[in-house]
Symmetry: C2
C-alpha cells in the first residue's frame, strides 16, 4: 500500500550534520508554500516563519540551543505562534476587545497547533526533496533571548526552529513505541499494566538499538531517559515569557 | 521541482463529505504508523490517538462539534496531548516529583507540538492514499465532555479530531496569505503597514474566491471573518479544563 509519500514519512530520521551544498531560494519558497497549505484552525493561519541567513544571528541561536548544527546547515527556519496579525486593521477600542479574547488558553492552543501543522508540512516537503531536517526545541533554553534577536511583537512567540540541508550522515531510523501504546479505540486504555508491558517491550527494542547503532552507542532505555530528564525542572521561564507576550494569560 | 509528495501537500483541501466506502484496518494502521514517525521532542512521544468506531460515541462527538461529518466518515481519530505515560513505572515519591515538573507551560507546549506533528503526518499519509481529511477543533466546544466520553486520565487532553474518508465532494483549494505576510528573513517584519497591504491583497483574492466558489458562495473577507469570530470570547473553559488535568498549571 505504501506510496512514495508514505515511504518519505516512514523513513524520517533527524539529520544533525549537513554538507556545504546550499539550499536554493526556490527550494525555500516551495517549502514555505507547503507549510502554508496545511490545515489551519478557523482559517486563522496563526503562525509565521522566520528564515535566518545572518551568520551573527545564527551563531547566537546556536549558542542558545547548544547545538552546532543550528549554525551549520543549509537553512534555518524559526516557527512562531502568531496572533498579532489579528490586531492589524482595527480601531483601538476593537483592538482592546480582541486582545482580551485572545488571551485564553484556547487561542494559545490554536496558534501552537497551526504553527506545528505548518512545520510538519515543511519537514515532509523538504525530506521529499532529499533534504534532511531537525526540529530545534532547544531554542526554548532562552526563549526571551530568541524573542529579542528576532524583534518579535506582542502575540508572537518562537516555538521551535528547524534546520534543513543535504544530509552528511546516515543515522539509523529511531524506533517508536509499539502502536498499541499509542493507538486505542473508543476509550483511553484503562489498564496501566498493559501499557507498562508495551513500554517494557519498547525499552528492550530501544536498548538493542542504542547498543548497536553506529554513532554514539550506549546502554540506555526510554524509561531511564525520561526519568533523567524529568527529575529536574526545565524551562520554567517559558511560562512567564509566554504570558508576557499576551498568550495564555487567563 | 515538485514531486508527488509536494503535489499531495499543495493540493490539500479539507473534506467534509465522504462516500460510504469504508477505510480498512490496514489503512488505519499505516496512517498511525506514519503519525508515529514524526519528530518528537526529547523522544517523548507525548501524545496518543483514539480511533472512534462506536456509533454512540461518534454521535455524541458530532453533537459537541456541531458537524454532521464527525458522525459520517470513513474513520474518526482524536489526537490527545499525553504526559501520563511518564508517570508509569515510577515509585510514588518520584512520581510526585515528575508531576511537579510536568506542570509548566514548557511541557504543555511539548505535548501539544508532538501531537500536532504526528497528526499532520497522518493527514498527509491519508491524502497520499486518495483519502480526504478534516481537522475537528470544534471538539473543544465542550472539551470536558470529550474527556469524559474517552475516559482520559490526568495529563491526557483531547486537542482535536480528524475525520478521514473517501471524498464525496470536490471543493476548490482555499487560498492562503501571500507568502510575504508569513515568511520573513532574520527579523519579524517591523512595518505593520506593509503587512496590512498584504492582508488587503489577500482580502481581494479571498473575496473573489468566496463569490465564485461552487458551494456556499458569499461576500466575505479574511479580516471580516476574523473580526466576527474574535469579537466575542470563545471556549473560555479550555483554560480551567487544561489546568484541571495537570497541564499548564504553573
Amino acid at each position: 500500500m505504501n506510496n512514495q509519500t508514505i515511504e518519505t514519512i516512514l523513513n524520517h530520521k533527524s539529520i544533525r550534520k549537513y554538507t556545504n551544498e546550499p539550499i536554493t531560494k526556490e527550494q525555500i519558497h516551495t517549502i514555505v508554500q507547503a507549510a502554508q497549505q496545511a490545515s489551519t484552525s478557523s482559517y486563522y493561519q496563526a503562525y509565521n516563519i522566520i528564515g535566518i541567513t545572518d551568520p551573527t544571528i545564527k551563531k547566537e541561536l546556536s549558542l542558545i540551543s547548544g547545538q552546532s548544527y543550528v549554525e551549520n546547515n543549509g537553512h534555518l527556519f524559526i516557527f512562531c505562534a502568531n496572533l498579532n496579525r489579528f490586531l492589524l486593521k482595527t480601531d483601538e477600542s476593537f483592538k482592546e476587545k480582541i486582545t482580551e479574547n485572545l488571551m485564553n488558553t484556547e487561542h494559545f492552543l490554536v496558534a501552537t497547533i497551526d504553527a506545528s501543522l505548518a512545520a510538519q508540512n515543511a519537514a515532509i516537503a523538504a525530506e521529499s526533496m532529499g533534504l534532511g531536517i531537525c526540529y530545534i526545541g532547544s531554542l526554548r533554553n532562552n526563549i526571551a533571548k530568541v524573542d529579542q534577536l528576532l524583534n518579535l511583537p506582542p502575540f508572537v512567540i518562537p516555538l521551535f526552529g528547524m534546520t534543513i540541508g543535504y544530509p552528511d550522515q546516515e543515522p539509523e531510523r529511531k524506533p517508536r513505541l509499539p502502536i498499541e501504546a499509542v493507538y486505542s479505540e473508543n476509550s483511553y486504555p484503562q489498564n496501566n499494566e498493559e501499557t507498562e508491558k508495551y513500554i517494557d517491550e519498547f525499552n528492550e527494542i530501544l536498548g538493542a538499538y542504542y547498543e548497536n547503532r553506529t554513532e554514539n552507542n550506549r546502554s540506555d532505555t526510554w524509561t531511564d531517559q525520561l526519568h533523567r530528564k524529568l527529575s529536574k525542572p526545565v524551562r520554567e521561564d517559558v511560562t512567564t515569557y509566554v504570558k508576557s507576550k499576551g498568550f495564555n494569560k487567563k
